[in-house]
Symmetry: C2
Subunit: 208 residues, 2 copies
């Protein structure tokens, strides 16, 4: 029997670098990445099926009605959700799947998949987060403040996560998240079938 893949949820403050971490994990270690569905309009350069699955509101509603999303949420006027089929097919094929998802969605995933690893990426403090957001230079002061206010709310929710990884040095952070996933796969609870086989294998020796 093929071992199922591991479901990994990665969240983090906007500006903590989780997008880069996730992208690198996929490129460097070959994880499968779930692509969200959304009703928001594509931004310049965004590709359907790569950045998001862009849906009309009717299409999105239909996905909800047919249990096609494992979680979904509404932000401002747009819907966002995680398509079920991709995730379940990949896990069944033994591939590890990463969901890059916000805090509310993560807790919904954990209820449905209690064995998922929930990983939160953070800067070492709020000052570092502010510096990074300001350093982007691509956002207004108002946008930066909005992201910080959001981060303050998210900070209260980190207790829901299984692991906390500090992104101080990007490469260290990427390899640490990979270690969290790789090491977690060795947990005894995740190898009960192997252990049972091994013990039977050894006990047959006893009888010889």
């Amino acid at each position: 029997m093929k071992k199922k893949g591991q479901l990994i949820v990665i969240s983090g403050f906007s500006g903590a670098g989780k997008g880069t971490v996730v992208k690198s994990l996929v490129e460097k270690y070959g994880y499968s990445l779930s692509i969200s569905a959304t009703t928001r309009a594509p931004r310049p350069g965004e590709v359907d099926g790569k950045d998001y699955y862009f849906k009309t509101e009717a299409e999105f509603r239909n996905l909800i009605d047919y249990n096609g999303l494992i979680e979904w949420a509404q932000y401002v006027d747009n819907y966002y959700g995680t398509p079920r089929k991709f995730v379940e097919d990949e896990l069944a094929a033994g591939r590890d799947v990463i969901l890059e998802i916000e805090v509310q969605g993560a807790t919904i995933i954990k209820k449905q998949y209690p064995d998922a690893d929930l990983i939160f990426i953070t800067t070492k403090d709020v000052e570092t987060l502010k510096e990074r957001l300001a350093g982007r230079g691509s956002e207004t002061q108002e946008q930066v403040e909005k992201r910080i206010r959001r981060a303050v709310e998210e900070a209260e929710m980190i207790d829901k996560y299984d692991y906390i990884v500090i992104n101080d040095d990007l490469n260290t952070c990427i390899d640490t998240v990979h270690s969290v996933i790789l090491g977690g796969k060795c947990k005894k609870e995740r190898n009960e079938d192997f252990l049972k086989d091994l013990q039977e294998n050894f006990s047959r020796i006893r009888e010889v």
Copy 2:
């Protein structure tokens, strides 16, 4: 406040390669290695303070009486034990300490240090273990059989461990054990102090 080091217990079947794995972890990643005390006589080439602390039975008894060992056991006519001071000093200094220890000792350690990571190194099956033991060429058929009988008993105890790592390819096994340790350090329960500080740090922003 300096974060305490992580206590790691590594066990495994004789012939599964745990000695080589432990040696490589120390050399490649700089883990601290606890050296056992024993009353058995040094074998040719063994160095006091490197392979073991060689003790007389009176000295060993004295260590036991003064609570100087965190676990000890008697095998055949000899005593073996783990000196307390080194382990506790290293952990307090924030260094991760590996104990290479057999199954009974591992369960005793877990009772005293519930946060220790217990890692069991195994071959993928009993046939591979037999081949490796026979392949050493340094042991009699009788010795090989004795080790296998011991492994059969140990196999029943693997349930006591937190992690199971298969040693199929040596380098993969070494890096996987390192991932288990590194990833484990990111567990939320092991970062409560950091998380509390971070949340306070963020909540002060809210008040501004």
